[in-house]
């Protein structure tokens, strides 16, 4: 368990699958996270069983986001971890809509960044966010992410091409106090 201020990050458990299947049928959420196709519970279960059966490591750190009351509200992970370059890509989803815009997501991002820099000893954490997702962009900026540029029209969703914004946080710039 990795403790934040509003949330805790815990390892994924097999029991997460039902909520993941419900989130996977939320079209707006899918469009924000780049997952186009709804997934069946039957498809999700073996995947979640896979994450839950492997000890968490540097290779594929995936976490469930829980409120301090133990409500499971979303997932956060680092992917494409490069040991030599000491970088990784962050992605997050708050699946429970009633927890949107209440700083749970930001707290989860800050908590994972702290873990990435202070425990995993990463140098750079990057993320990709759709230009249409203003709420997320503002939240990432508050967490210390810097916009590096725009991959023009790199994503197609809901009938239009959308720009993809690249942001990153560097260990040498990041200080816990400033956050």
């Amino acid at each position: 368990m990795i403790a934040g201020k509003l949330v805790n990050l815990r390892a994924r458990e097999f029991g997460d699958a039902e909520r993941n299947a419900r989130w996977s049928s939320d079209r707006e959420l899918l469009a924000l996270t780049g997952h186009r196709y709804p997934q069946s519970l039957a498809a999700i279960k073996p995947a979640v069983r896979g994450y839950a059966s492997e000890p968490l490591s540097h290779a594929d750190p995936r976490f469930a986001i829980e409120t301090k009351d133990g409500v499971y509200i979303g997932n956060i992970r680092l992917s494409d971890v490069s040991s030599d370059d000491r970088h990784a890509q962050l992605s997050i989803m708050i699946g429970e809509r009633s927890y949107w815009s209440k700083r749970y997501g930001s707290d989860a991002v800050r908590t994972l960044l702290r873990f990435a820099f202070r425990e995993m000893n990463l140098h750079r954490v990057e993320l990709y966010v759709y230009a249409t997702n203003a709420r997320a962009i503002a939240a990432y900026q508050k967490c210390g992410f810097v916009q590096e540029g725009i991959r023009r029209r790199a994503y197609y969703s809901r009938g239009v091409w959308v720009d993809v914004i690249v942001m990153s946080a560097l260990a040498c710039e990041w200080s816990e106090e400033a956050r």
């Binding site: 140098h123 750079r124 590096e148 540029g149 023009r152 029209r153 197609y156 091409w161």
Partner: protein, 185 residues
Amino acid sequence: MIEGKLVQLRAHEMTDLERYAAWFNDPDVTRFVGKRYPLSLLAEEAWLRENTGKPLSYDRVQFAIDTRAGVHIGSIGFNQTFPEDRRAVLGIVIGDKAYWSKGYGGDAMRTLLRFGFEEMNLYRIELTVDARNARALACYRKCGFVEEVRMRQGHFSEGAYHDGIWMGILRDEWAAQQTELQAAP
């Protein structure tokens, strides 16, 4: 076979093995390609077997670059393709150093861009490049790629962190370039 002006793109063959193994163990060639570990003959053979054993398709666009005279000088392809976005990520290596800086790489790029836009119906083609690789950057710019993102300290080699650059070209930009070329005297 896909015809360019200086080069032609063809499917890889197992007979290319020893050249690839030599190129991908040449530090001058791998310096900016993000391959830091030496490559065994067996590992390269496995890659070639995988990529020659199945027909080329939307998900498998990997070509050998030959000069028009039939000299094998490198490889080029789309390392990832995304059908919904109609987007592909391009990668190229000219392994034979005698053919550097002579327009062969640029011609291979333009030939694959034409194939991507005119045959595969792509909307966007993108790539990443080491910010120190001035020769490649100049070549990509000449081909119409636009610098979009500077990834700060994105990779580590030779004792330091280096920036990476995302570049992209859109179908409309490429089409406009073709019209200009045809209009030029």
